[in-house]
């Protein structure tokens, strides 16, 4: 005769094997597993071995499961996609280990571990999109597993001996759990989506700045999805903030040609004031350069050894760029290197295509400025913004121009630069940030990693270098947007904290810890003081004594109305003797019984209270 609990445990495992047969595409392995489990269930607990041997047996069985899962090839699974081999191996190993425990007379740590192995096997079996069958299998496995645990527990009476109330509660619990489970399963999808959209991005490590001496097409991809705040700007919107300038292009890579050495930057003596003054604070991280608009004057930069390179980029080699102040307007404080032959160079592989297309797009236009405008408009009107780009050829820009007609800012900036050069206008690619996000509370601008952008600067006679952005307006960098209320508040707090940290010389964290410790100390002292103050001295006042039970009070009240009042300090027993003397034996007996129960634990309280109430009622209305 098989022990009923083992029978149910075996059945709960067989349900999983059946599921594996459906999802794994390995009917042979599933059949072997089913046969083994069935054999173990029928054999029942007949092996009596110690803990060490039990572990060996379990490990051996798990090894057998691994071997079975690892050998053989999968046929077509009934479900698509089927279960990966790794998960099949895991599930079989766990099931075989559970089967080994079924034949052991006293398995280590009891049937709970067997159930746990089953649940883990079910977990491995569910590592694919199974569909409604999985829900059925989960329900069946858990029901059988819980029943097996119940039967294995000697401290639980058989179902037949349980009172009806317990059965009803149990059934209600099962129904409630099923409803809860179904609701949770439904709610998990939107929760997962929300979490992926918010928490995962916030939890990303600091995006690495794509600004360096080289720019690979696609290097800004990672930054495009990061919400990391780079800087906060107070004052008028500077729009395009330049960080790196490139003039030489080779096979998908821009770099800066040597144009002389960097020079020490001499800041303005007085910081800028007035409506055009802009103050930029970096939000943290190591920055090796300041981002400035093309036309900035009266620049005051913080940090030691600030240098300016020939392209007009302000660099801090020590990586300690923290804050900068400047004013928007002409003449710019930093001069940009005059155009050279490098600013007109087009790589040989691209020349034919770029020149042909540029001529086509600027047909009928003579003015260089108008040509630039025509090319930029063509890109904006006929190309689209996309973070996805499929490169097929060696030269990605050919794909962009001829096939894809979509890409992100780096492709547009690169193409625009080369097209400008094709029509005889010196041009460079600039990488930096666009300022598009304004905080409704703080009245300042926020620049995030995702605002990283690339554009073109063309040299027009009489106007000098001019910013040209060929990226369509659908690009996130080009779209003006504000923050949500919560986001704005969060950023305002972060900004204030950053300011306070700067004001305390970077010691805000230590100060906060100190203040918290001090506050806790004050709270603890206050708590102790209040506790001591609340402690009252022991009192012998009668009104502080515990009140009698309501039933007893009712009886006393009824007796008082009948002229038999109990003195406040009179013991119940003495009062009962007085009642005896006054020919009231029934209340006297009840009071003696109450005293015996209250002070001696003799008798039952509940029925006695009922009798006290009944006696009180009789005394109030003697006719009853």
């Amino acid at each position: 005769m098989i022990a009923p609990d083992r029978r149910l445990a075996g059945a709960s495992m067989l349900v999983i094997v059946a599921l594996l047969g459906v999802v794994s595409g390995r009917p042979g392995a599933s059949a072997v597993a089913a046969a083994l489990l069935l054999g173990a269930t029928i054999a029942g607990p007949r092996i009596d071995i110690g803990v060490g041997l039990q572990r060996l047996l379990t490990l051996g069985a798990a090894g057998l499961g691994i071997a079975l899962g690892a050998t053989g090839t999968a046929t077509m699974s009934l479900l698509s996609p089927g279960l990966d081999r790794v998960w099949l191996i895991g599930a079989l190993a766990l099931l075989f280990a559970a089967a080994a425990r079924l034949v052991v007379r006293a398995p280590e740590r009891g049937p709970v571990v067997t159930t746990v192995l089953g649940v883990l096997a079910l977990t491995a079996a569910g590592e694919t999109a199974v569909g409604p069958i999985y829900k059925l299998v989960v329900a069946a496995h858990l029901a059988l597993g819980l029943l097996a645990l119940r039967l294995a527990d000697p401290g639980r009476p058989p179902l037949a001996r349980l009172p009806r109330r317990t059965l009803i509660v149990g059934t209600a619990l099962v129904i409630a759990a099923a409803a809860l489970s179904a609701s949770a399963t439904r709610a998990l999808f939107p929760m997962s989506d929300w979490t992926t959209a918010h928490i995962t991005l916030l939890g990303m490590p600091d995006a690495t700045s794509g600004f360096s001496d080289r720019l690979w097409l696609g290097s800004l991809d990672g930054m495009q999805q990061s919400e990391e705040v780079v800087m906060r700007i107070e004052g008028p919107r500077p729009d395009y903030l330049r960080g790196a300038i490139y003039d030489r292009y080779e096979l998908g890579r821009w770099r800066s040609s040597p144009r002389g050495s960097a020079e020490d930057f001499t800041p303005t003596s007085a910081p800028p004031t007035g409506p055009a003054a802009v103050a930029v604070t970096y939000a943290g991280g190591s920055r090796d350069r300041y981002f400035l608009p093309l036309r900035a004057r009266a620049i005051v930069a913080e940090g030691a050894s600030v240098v300016v390179d020939p392209f007009g980029t302000l660099r801090v080699p020590s990586g300690a760029a923290t804050a900068i102040r400047f004013e928007l307007g002409d003449p710019p404080a930093i001069t940009v290197a005059e155009p050279s032959a490098e600013d007109l160079r087009i790589p040989d592989e691209l020349r034919a295509t770029v020149v042909r297309l540029a001529a086509e797009w600027t047909r009928g236009v003579d003015d260089p400025s108008a040509k630039i405008e025509a090319i930029a408009r063509h890109f904006q009107d006929n190309f689209s913004y996309s973070l996805e780009f499929h490169q097929r050829r060696r030269e990605a820009l050919i794909d962009f121009l001829l096939d894809e007609h979509r890409g992100h800012c780096e492709y547009f900036a690169s193409a625009m630069t080369l097209f400008a050069r094709a029509v005889g206008v010196p041009a460079r690619v600039v990488a930096g940030y666009r300022v598009t996000e304004r905080s409704p509370f703080g009245g300042y601008w926020i620049v995030r990693e995702k605002n990283a952008h690339a554009w073109t600067e063309v040299f027009l006679p009489g106007r000098g270098f001019v910013t040209v952005d060929a990226t369509p307006s659908g690009a996130p960098q080009n779209a003006m947007h504000g923050l949500g209320v919560l986001g704005a508040l969060r950023d305002l707090v972060a900004a204030r904290l950053a300011k306070a940290d700067a004001a305390t010389g970077g010691n805000l964290g230590k100060l906060a810890i100190g203040a918290t410790a001090l506050g806790l100390g004050v709270v603890m002292l206050a708590r102790r003081f209040l506790r001591r103050a609340r402690k009252t001295k022991p009192s012998l006042r009668l009104d502080a004594a515990p009140r009698p039970h309501p039933s007893l009070a009712r009886l006393f009240d009824a007796l008082a109305r009948a002229g038999l009042e109990r003195a406040p300090s009179e013991p119940i027993e003495r009062f009962a003797r007085r009642l005896d003397a006054a020919a009231h034996p029934v209340p006297a007996t009840l009071l003696r019984r109450y005293a015996a129960q209250r002070y001696g634990g003799v008798g039952e309280l509940e029925p006695l209270l009922g009798e006290l109430d009944a006696c009180a009622a009789r005394l109030r209305s003697p006719s009853r």
Binding site: V116, T123, V169, L173, V174, A177, L180, S192, E604
Partner: protein
């Protein structure tokens, strides 16, 4: 240095009940209490499913790529549902009483007798008795008792058994009893017993023979040999009857042999009075345990014989007592030995003599139990006071010390329970 990992594992848990109670009612108590209540509210099965739900949740976090989240939802729903139902399974009115022996030998199992009283009007089903959280040295040797049913007004007696590895007073937290919520994953609100207090005493070494050194035979203030003077004194001989002798002392055979009345003559004798000195500055905790075990064996052996243990000195603390011949019980000495703590600094001969000397005049001899041989310095100074002294040295695998009235005992022999003839 040997690390006690079991003790290290409990380093954050106070060792005594008052300290644990202080923690519960202290500043962090309210913070910890919900977690403790949650943990206590789950059965072993519930805890296993709770823990495994984290693993399942981890594997099922990609809800779009797999169906494991269905299993997680089912586990979470089962646990949540049964947790909500716990408050409807309170046991009232119900009592739990726990009794335990006052002392247990170190390493032996102690049996707690748990009596459950169902004082209510409703039959109760599926009750689980939960033993308290044991200190580092304790371990349950039986699974916690389970009671399938208890009728209204009835009571049931079950047993819980545990083993403890450290001497001293143990004050356990209350036992609890709670009703199982249907599905068997959680328990209803529990009813608690009082705290349980007992002593873990050292093992009594098997001392089968102990020769005490010669010293004073009779000392002032000695205790009569017989426990009831005048009724069971030792027979000294017979003598002619003198007026006033009790008639019951007449010796019929001698009277018949001599022809004149003869009476039995009795003489009161005195026990030898012995002091036991334990050197608590033993090299290592194990050695101290072996020494205390030997001291317990010595006291047990002497208290069965014609001697009185009059003094017990542990380190520099003197316990004045009188054991043996119905004047006291071995348990008194065991209780004292249970609470002996190791001295951090070596206790010198001067310190021992300074506390011993006021008591030496009334002792016949002294037995010194030590783990570190001092070349007989202490023994010689005791002998100088006219009191005999035997030194019992517990040694490991090293050489055995030699000297006057010195006996060395191998530590292994004590722990193995070998019969010791000293």
């Amino acid at each position: 240095m040997r690390i006690n990992f079991a003790k290290l594992n409990h380093v954050l848990i106070p060792g005594t009940k008052p300290a644990r109670d202080r923690l519960r009612t202290g500043l962090f108590g309210p913070l910890i209490r919900p977690f403790g209540a949650f943990y206590d509210g789950l059965t072993d099965e519930g805890r296993a499913l709770f823990l495994i739900s984290f693993i399942v949740g981890g594997f099922g976090i990609d809800v779009h790529g797999s169906d494991v989240h269905v299993l997680w939802s089912a586990l979470a729903a089962l646990l949540f549902g049964t947790l909500l139902a716990t408050r409807f399974h309170a046991l009232t009115p119900f009592r739990i009483e726990v009794t335990a022996p006052r002392r247990v030998t170190i390493g032996d199992a102690i049996t707690f007798t748990v009596v459950l009283h169902n004082d209510g009007l409703v039959d109760r089903h599926a009750l689980r008795v939960l033993g308290p959280f044991l200190p580092w040295d304790g371990r349950w040797t039986l699974p916690s008792p389970r009671v399938p049913g208890l009728a209204a007004g009835a009571h049931v007696r079950v047993e819980a058994r545990a083993r403890f590895l450290e001497r001293g007073e143990h004050h356990l937290d209350p036992f609890q009893v709670a009703a199982l919520v249907p599905l068997g994953l959680t328990l209803g609100p529990s009813v608690r017993s009082g705290g349980v207090r007992f002593l873990v005493v050292p093992k009594i070494a098997s001392v089968v023979r102990l020769s005490t050194p010669s010293g004073r035979r009779h000392q002032p203030g000695g205790v009569a040999l017989a426990s009831k003077t005048g009724e069971s004194m030792d027979l000294l001989g017979v003598r002619p009857y003198r007026a006033g002798d009790p008639v019951r002392h007449l010796h019929a055979r001698s009277w018949a042999r001599t022809g004149s009345p003869m009476v039995r003559e009795y003489q009161e004798e005195y026990f030898s009075r012995i002091g036991v000195v334990i050197d608590t500055s033993a090299p290592g905790a194990d050695r101290l345990e072996e020494m205390l075990s030997l001291a317990a064996g010595v006291v047990a052996h002497l208290s069965r014989g014609e001697a009185l243990i009059d003094l017990l000195v542990a380190g520099d603390r003197v316990h004045d007592l009188t054991l043996g011949r119905h004047l006291g019980f071995l348990e008194q000495a065991l209780d004292l030995l249970a609470c002996v703590e190791a001295s951090r600094k070596p206790v010198g001969a001067d310190a021992v003599l300074s506390v011993l000397s006021p008591h030496l005049p009334r002792l016949s001899c002294v037995i010194v139990v030590t783990g570190a041989w001092d070349d007989g310095a202490l023994a010689e100074r005791i002998r100088g006071s006219g009191v005999g002294c035997t030194t019992l040295v517990v040694v490991g695998d090293g050489p055995e010390p030699r000297g006057r009235d010195v006996r060395s005992i191998r530590a292994k022999a004590i722990t193995a329970g070998e019969a010791l003839s000293l």
